[in-house]
Symmetry: C2
Subunit: 396 residues, 2 copies
């Protein structure tokens, strides 16, 4: 692809966060779209201010996709619309970059796969955490064999979102309605993406089954009582979404993955990224690397405390090449640079007609965790099979 | 009970670690026992050196229990013999202190409960971690309401035991045979005990179901290849026990508990004790307390790093009374003082004819997790009901 002209769909928080980085890397943003007119207009204004050219403005994504000037569709909308918009775009023969979220049904994930396969358009899943500095450094160390055979990984989306959820009506945010109506691992990909790449999921390995267990939902109600007690509707609302959802995934080669959704209780932010191998480990909680036989076994907290943050020492030798370069050139863009790197990876692959760094099989299998976890929770944590969206090609 | 005379059964590592503390607190150790004659003899010698009186020496636990001089039986043996010895002791009308371990069947746990109920003898489960300094401080903070409603707890037995297991024949250690033949959460109580007490398990709450998922078993084989390559039997052995077992428990009041068994991969020691409530949290990984609205929400590692170890600050105000006194008097005994406190709690209750701090219902429900996790793993992580060993009395 030579002349990248984007239909930019969705101008909520995420759309606003990425716009500048996208404008830097594309030839044009020919169309902008949001179901809210004011947002679509704000997006058009921002594009015009940057480029001097006013894009076409839409509130209907179908019209934006149909716009003949555009050949790439970026989807930065509410979770519910991700797959429908992606399907429409692929059917129109446009390349797709899809923001993260979970799927509402396994069938939706199959549609994503089938439509990409039948249309052959480039498709990338914008999982920025796959480009995180530590995530890539640890992937590098794993590939160098430093951790031995990887046996278990865990991660979580530990992010106190109570304010965002409670003010979801005012902010026109999709999380509120989702937390009221659904109980599932609703946002698995930030931690699962980097883990899946380390475990070779869909590339020699695959996820075969999961169980999900949800705690009660207590965090939002207490938050609303304390911070929004004048909101009668919310004071009396029952939230379906459990505060903490624990999902345990089994992989074809015997590895296990534990995911934790944890967004409605007080705490500090973490993705809890942890990688355990027969020769070593990394854990984000203490940002520490532990290599077998290079250090004494440690039994007391004072020893552990000395290890806190020692991953920085390993960075000197094992920083991922992408990040080495990035640090030299100067890190920029949101989320500590991950956003810039994911967009660059997408547009570079698009221009080079190269395979997409995070493809439709990754998207389908990661997003399906949400739909499958909902089934497991509804069935008392019963194990649920995870479909093989590659139809057997993962073994190749 | 006025004259405490102990039959001390089992003189392996644990028996050796506790003997001196027991000798301090009892009137006599009238009988010692180990299936290995040399160990029984060593125990007798140690008792004689301390007290000037040689105890009766047995290799058959039934004979030791039948010894008319003793009224208390302490069980510090291999996991497999815990419940049979406890049953024999209770049937003989002797008080029982039982070291920790998991059960081999749910029926064994029921036998423990029925036999204690029918004999009425004092029974205590020696879960020393219930007396841990941080565990008790956090329990204190929970009871003061500082963490709000507790929604989720997690913990693990993160302990690199590869050497102990690999040299199990030489050391006559029971872990080796267990790791060769069983795949389960084989040692849940160190983390579950303190969590169960915080959640009021068997005292207003109960555990209702669990799922367990085991990773492949790769750690032991690699360890043996590297460290015991002349051991033909072990080089060719297949270990049944997965390296990491994740168990998720659901409680009657909606709380969830996640347990991790993690004993055959390289890492530093931790019990991963974590308590999450609607108003605050504690996590052992960073030894940090986080209280809602008392601190800014934190998004970056530099902030988190500043919190590492801040639980010490809270100790000034919230140290558990038992530990305040212990620190004043001078902490002593193994495992950072926990061993001393658990034994003191047992002998104090025995002398005062008071309820046992950790009773047979705690023992049965905590030990049953092992047997139930085995069933879940064997059935592809299927959810398994956890029996109510109190027969409904947990609600009182």
């Amino acid at each position: 692809m030579k002349n990248i002209n984007v239909a930019y769909i969705g101008y909520g928080e995420r759309g606003r966060a990425l716009l500048e980085l996208v404008l830097e890397q594309v030839d044009a943003i020919g169309a902008v779209c949001d179901i809210y007119e004011d947002r679509a207009e704000a997006c058009a204004k921002a594009v015009e201010e940057s480029r001097g050219v006013r894009p076409a403005v839409y509130t209907d994504y179908k019209a934006a996709i149909a716009d003949e000037s555009v050949n790439v569709v970026m989807i930065l909308t509410a979770w519910e619309s991700h797959i429908p918009i992606a399907l429409e775009a692929m059917r129109a023969g446009k390349a797709v970059a899809l923001e993260v979220g979970g799927a509402y049904s396994v069938e939706d994930c199959w549609k994503l796969v089938r439509t990409q396969e039948s249309t052959g358009v480039p498709f990338m899943f914008l999982e920025n955490c796959c480009f995180g500095r530590r995530e890539l450094m640890i992937k590098n160390m794993v590939e160098l064999g430093l951790f031995g055979r990887i046996v278990h990984c865990s991660g979580g989306y530990h992010h106190d979102l109570r304010e965002e959820i409670a003010f979801g009506v005012e902010n026109r945010h999709y999380r509120l309605r989702n937390y009221l109506s659904r109980n599932c691992e609703n946002y698995p990909t930030h931690e699962l993406g980097p883990i899946a790449r380390i475990l070779g999921i869909n590339k020699g390995n695959r996820m075969v089954s999961l169980t999900s267990t949800a705690s009660c939902a207590a965090g939002m109600h207490e938050y609303i009582l304390a911070n929004k007690s004048d909101d009668e509707a919310l004071i009396n609302a029952e939230f379906a979404q459990g505060d903490v959802v624990t999902t345990v995934i089994k992989c074809a080669r015997g590895e296990t993955i534990t995911l934790t959704l944890d967004t409605t209780l007080p705490r500090f932010y973490s993705r809890g990224f942890t990688v355990r191998g027969t020769k070593g480990m990394y854990e984000e909680a203490t940002d520490s690397v532990f290599l077998d036989r290079q250090e004494d076994r440690a039994y007391d907290w004072s020893w552990v405390k000395n290890k806190v943050g020692n991953a920085d020492d390993y960075a000197r030798e094992y920083e991922h090449p992408v990040w080495k370069q990035f640090l030299e050139d100067g890190v920029r863009g949101g989320h500590g640079g991950m956003d810039y790197l994911e967009l660059k990876a997408f547009f570079d692959a698009l221009r080079a007609d190269a395979p997409m760094p995070i493809d439709v099989y990754d998207a389908a299998s990661w997003m399906a965790i949400t739909a499958l976890s909902k089934i497991s929770i509804a069935n008392g944590s019963a194990p649920v099979e995870i479909p093989d969206f590659t139809s057997g090609r993962w073994e190749e």
